[in-house]
Symmetry: C2
Subunit: 254 residues, 2 copies
């Protein structure tokens, strides 16, 4: 199992590449990689390549790589789109890290009446760095896309073509796995909606009542946003990995 | 939904109690509670009581409470015992926080051949503070019990009476919910085993092969310990909350 390194321009790269700045420093300092080590470079858009480290320069850090043939992985058969209230502070990155490991493909922050956090300056950059690290960790060739925040009204009125399945985390929701499985058969995009910790307002619940959604109970106690997000993501990715329900391209076949 | 405050000596407390030190400071500073506010005190062992704040003293902090009748909640019908490799650093508390919210009742660190972290000095104290906060957050009257670390050999040779179900997180494991559901019917204790990030050794896998366990696939990519722990816990607590499979005492009936 080789280390993964991020090379966003992989598509336009031939047989040689140079990593610089933070990525090079990370490879040498944190990963302690040396000349001769074999790594995997990825661009977060489905391309990977095995690469051998041919030279390491310090001050400033540069890692020179000799690349082998690229592989191009098929995108996941079903997109898993986390649309959730923003947790506070560090819990945002904890959430994004874990759901990326579990296979989320898209993330959109949603604003609710009782939301306590909004997208701040610098959030997108911080999230991007977390997503890169999570892809490396979990060896995901596709990096989740982060979309602009939306209000619940926009979420509800988003056009949902055939194949979009909406699941909403809710204490009083469905607890039978079989019902969730049935709702996911043939899904092309699964949107997971997680409300704020103060819960949905009466008005929001009424709006959701008129929308094609399945409310899903997650068990346990009162959940923080990130715990609910991870639990619902785990339920969906696991269910879709059952070949009778979803079909996820096998990495080995690329 | 009132704030929860921790009062470990609730069992021997009459109609008045005083919170001191960190718990009192937390109530006043972080929660901004004042005289007249109604809170819920809990002892982590199934007892709760509604309480009204009768006096707040600063320097040093004291919160005086007038307690109403105690409630005694039944323990969960099935214990959910997380037995896992220790993640590094802060990821230990992230894991314990989330699995407590989801309803884990017991935690035992397990040492594997490829374990990178061991229980350190002060870990137990730090974990205990996290568990208290997670119980408050998720309104769980039962606090998870933290047991001494064990080696995998001890885990395997632990006496498993009738009603103990062993689930092991494993990439190549079972992906059908129905099989997991079947294994959980009538469970009195579910032990969730999460290996280290380097994976089980050949030797460990061979030992596990001779043990009564179900290997469970969690979907997604290569998972960190805490992501796997949360995903497997979520699967189990959710499945047990399905009344056809598990029966969890209803808080409302205490």
């Amino acid at each position: 199992m080789s280390h993964w390194l991020y090379l966003p321009e992989l598509a336009s790269t031939g047989t040689a590449a140079v990593l610089e700045d933070a990525e090079a420093a990370h490879a040498v300092r944190a990963r302690r990689l040396r000349v001769g080590d074999v790594v995997c470079v990825f661009d977060g858009a489905g391309r990977t390549a095995a690469a051998r480290i041919s030279e390491v320069i310090k001050r400033p850090f540069e890692v020179h790589l000799a690349l082998e043939a690229q592989q191009h992985w098929a995108p996941p058969a079903a997109r898993i789109h986390l649309t959730s209230a923003l947790p506070k502070g560090d819990r945002q990155t904890t959430m994004l890290d874990m759901v990326t490991q579990l296979g989320v493909t898209d993330f959109t922050p949603v604003n609710f009446e009782r939301s306590v956090s909004r997208v701040g300056t610098g959030s997108q950059d911080r999230w991007r760095r977390v997503l890169i690290e999570s892809c490396k960790q979990s060896q995901q060739p596709w990096m989740p896309l982060v979309h602009s925040p939306m209000d619940l009204g926009e979420w509800i009125s988003s056009p949902t073509d055939d194949g979009v399945v909406n699941l909403v985390a809710h204490k009083e929701g469905e607890s039978r796995n079989a019902v969730i499985e049935e709702s996911l058969v043939g899904a092309k995009q699964v949107r997971l909606l997680i409300g704020p910790e103060g819960g949905f307002s009466e008005n929001e619940l009424a709006q959701l009542d008129h929308t094609q959604t399945t409310m899903v109970s997650l068990g346990g106690g009162v959940l923080r946003v990130e715990a609910a997000a991870v639990a619902l993501t785990a339920l969906v990715t696991r269910t879709l990995s059952d070949s009778r329900i979803g079909s996820r391209p096998d990495k080995g076949s690329a």
